[in-house]
């Protein structure tokens, strides 16, 4: 039954994972994500699932790959230092096309940094952290309800795309309690990986289906298969030739972009008659913010109801919803990006804006939450002149 609950973001993530069918967790404790591990250790065994605390995050990520191939919907939760250690085997998951979910409850870095304080500074690491050309899928919740719904979405995407999917939450969301809407599990749309059909002797573990995603067997099932971190052909046998490599990389990257319609869409909120044909006083400004920063941006809008402001809030950070943002740019006088790092997303927004409008930045990187006032100041600064 659908219910309203008073939950912490980390609790909602766990509820989302279980609702999506997660039955394997491997991880290593780290603040501010540890509640997810603790809850997993408690809830999974009774469901016939497995919780295992590994010796480090390198091993945790490796174990997810093994469990995924053995048929599990597998996940882990971590924060910056652990996310760094996971990068090697995130690449393994990409290459062997192992569906799995990695929750990064982001905290302030670099290194041990401010272990108990929030940041949004791992977003480029999520995009490019593992070496080599690869796709990245990262979802960014902004409320406890979304910690649930986007975790469900992350499992669905991991399964449908056969790739690791990140949920980038942060210390604020992870530890904050608020009202959350938890839908009825029966009512949720749940996806499983595409499965092979036909004669097991003809199964090719890397032969793509119509979506560009190869059906996946299960160790212990009738389809015997071989996967490898090396460049490989359809059979999973290593192949070193340039043609195979080019086709493999193109397919790995392309299977995400060609199925972009599966990704959660951005939220666009207007205030002060913002956007095209705005009636409020002042020139309209497009604010781009995600996660906790987007909550501050909403407050900026409430604080300045007579200034036309539009919030563009991606729910999928990678791949960035480029076309949707681009379509909004011309209707605004300026663009402002708000993020809790020294300016990572802003480069991407400048690329998409392509010089059409000035792009300003509200940033903060001291472990404190970005404030509505700081975002408003950036709006004024970017508009220039009298800031209206």
């Amino acid at each position: 039954m659908a219910r309203t609950a008073f939950l912490q973001g980390n609790e909602a993530v766990l509820e989302g994972a279980l609702a999506a069918g997660a039955r394997f967790y491997a991880g290593y404790p780290i603040t501010p994500s540890s509640e997810i591990a603790e809850l997993a250790s408690w809830r999974l065994p009774g469901l016939g699932g497995v919780f295992i605390q590994m010796e480090d995050e390198i091993a945790s990520m490796a174990a997810l790959v093994g469990a995924a191939m053995a048929g599990a919907k597998a996940f882990t939760a971590t924060s910056g230092p652990g996310f760094s250690l996971m990068q090697e085997n995130i690449g393994l998951a990409v290459m062997v096309e192992a569906p799995c979910v990695v929750i990064n409850v982001m905290r302030s870095g670099p290194s041990t940094g401010l272990a108990t304080k929030p940041a949004q500074a791992d977003i480029m690491q999520a995009r490019w952290g593992t070496h080599g050309d690869h796709p990245a899928v990262a979802l960014v919740p902004s409320s406890v309800s979304e910690c649930f719904s986007l975790t469900v979405a992350a499992f669905n995407l991991a399964e449908r795309l056969r790739t690791p999917v990140f949920v980038l939450s942060d210390e604020i969301l992870g530890h904050m309690r608020e009202r959350a809407d938890i839908p009825d599990t029966e009512a949720l749309e749940i996806w499983d990986r595409p499965r092979p059909a036909g004669d097991p002797a003809d199964y090719r573990p890397y032969r793509p289906g119509p979506d560009g995603v190869p059906p996946l067997g299960t160790f212990g099932g009738p389809y015997v298969f071989h996967v490898t971190s090396s460049m490989h052909d359809e059979r999973g046998v290593s192949a070193n030739d340039a043609k195979t490599a080019a086709a493999s990389v193109a397919r790995l990257v392309g299977k995400v972009s060609r199925n972009a319609q599966w990704l959660p869409r951005p939220e666009v909120v207007r205030s002060g008659g913002g956007g095209e044909g705005g009636t409020g006083a002042g020139r309209p400004v497009l604010i781009v913010a995600f996660g906790s920063s987007a909550r501050a941006a909403r407050q900026t809008m409430l604080d300045h109801p007579d200034h036309p402001l539009t919030l563009f809030r991606p729910r999928t950070l990678w791949p960035f919803p480029e076309a949707e943002l681009s379509a909004l740019v011309d209707g605004h006088a300026a663009v402002v990006v708000a993020e809790m790092n020294t300016g990572q997303l802003v480069g991407e927004i400048e690329r998409i804006t392509a010089g059409r409008r000035a792009v300003g930045l509200a940033w903060r990187s001291d472990g404190e939450i970005i404030t509505p006032e700081e975002i408003w100041a950036a709006v004024r600064r970017t508009l220039g002149g009298d800031g209206r």
């Binding site: 039955r23 394997f24 491997a26 408690w42 809830r43 065994p45 009774g46 469901l47 016939g48 497995v50 295992i52 590994m54 010796e55 480090d56 390198i58 091993a59 945790s60 490796a62 174990a63 997810l64 790959v65 093994g66 469990a67 995924a68 191939m69 053995a70 048929g71 599990a72 597998a74 090697e88 085997n89 690449g91 393994l92 062997v96 160790f219 212990g220 099932g221 009738p222 015997v224 298969f225 071989h226 996967v227 490898t228 971190s229 090396s230 046998v237 290593s238």
Partner: protein, 290 residues
């Protein structure tokens, strides 16, 4: 009766390994052990790391994951923890297992997870050109210890015993029959099992250390082996007695045989009990500790 050929991917031949390398012999012994046990290909998972021996999965027709350097046991742990009914085998070099993957090795043994580790210990990194590893003997030459190696080597079997493995054995690539028997035993072990196979790398370790031709290296394995433990000739009576060799240089004796065999509950046994308790308590029931 099946034979090793039932598990060998003949399309993948010829083997990539150098003439005189031990890896081909170890592969044959392993696939022979699969055949002896009549393992079903569907229910068998081979996990490899990266290295010359780590390429063995290319020739094996069971399920397989060729993973990352040093992480084979961590991947294998994920497979086995989720599906304890599968036979899971991790193939690693000494670099994979004892060096970059040392942490996973001791923890897999401590956890007593039912994975069989088959380690081809050739005392160096074959794949990358003969650099030293965590098992390279003091004094030996490698491409990164040109003046002689200064660090002490691990004794993998003693390490596995101390860490908690249920079954620990050592053999050499020369001792084909013993190797096969030990593998058969290891593959039936519900807890963690290790078969360390001391193996020649004539291309690097042998050449750098002037150990003569490949056949001389094989002869040396034959001569240096000292069978100990049950079935051994030079018998400290019980399994579990792991004397250190008198010196650990390249010419030291190699203690072979089943060195440890004990029956502590495996990870799967203990976790199944947790699952049963949790299921009885019902969804949402709080564990006592909370």
């Amino acid at each position: 009766m099946s034979t090793y050929l039932d598990y060998l991917d003949e399309n993948a031949l010829p083997l990539m390994w150098c003439p005189g390398c031990g890896d081909g012999t170890i592969l044959k012994a392993l696939l022979g052990a699969f055949a002896t046990l009549g393992l079903k290909r569907e229910n068998t998972v081979v996990v490899t790391g990266i290295g010359c021996w780590g390429k063995a999965d290319d020739y094996i027709r069971t399920n397989a994951i060729h993973g990352t350097h040093g992480r084979a046991l961590a991947v294998a742990t994920g497979v086995k923890a989720f599906r304890p009914g599968l036979t899971v085998v991790a193939l690693m070099g000494d670099g994979d297992c004892a060096t970059i993957g040392g942490n996973h090795f001791i923890h897999a043994a401590r956890r007593n997870i039912g994975v069989t580790a088959i380690v081809a210990n050739n005392l160096n990194y074959g794949m990358t050109g003969g650099q030293f590893s965590g098992t390279t003997p003091v004094g030996s030459r490698t491409s990164t210890s040109p003046f002689g190696h200064t660090e002490n080597p691990f004794d993998l079997c003693r390490l596995a015993e101390a860490a908690g493995a249920n079954f620990v054995a050592r053999t050499t690539a020369y001792h084909f029959k013993q190797m096969g028997q030990l593998m058969v035993e290891a593959l039936q072990e519900p807890g963690f099992s290790l078969v360390e196979v001391v193996s020649p790398c004539p291309t690097y370790f042998g050449r750098f250390n002037k150990q003569g031709s490949a056949s001389e290296m094989w002869r040396s394995l034959k001569e240096r082996a000292r069978a100990v433990g049950p079935g051994g000739t030079e018998a400290p009576a019980e399994a579990g007695s792991l004397e250190a060799p008198p010196d650990d240089g390249p010419d030291a004796p190699i203690l072979t045989g089943r060195l440890v065999s004990r029956h502590k509950p495996s990870f799967a046994e203990r976790y199944a009990a947790v699952q049963a308790t949790a299921a009885r308590a019902g969804e949402g029931a709080e564990p006592d500790a909370r």
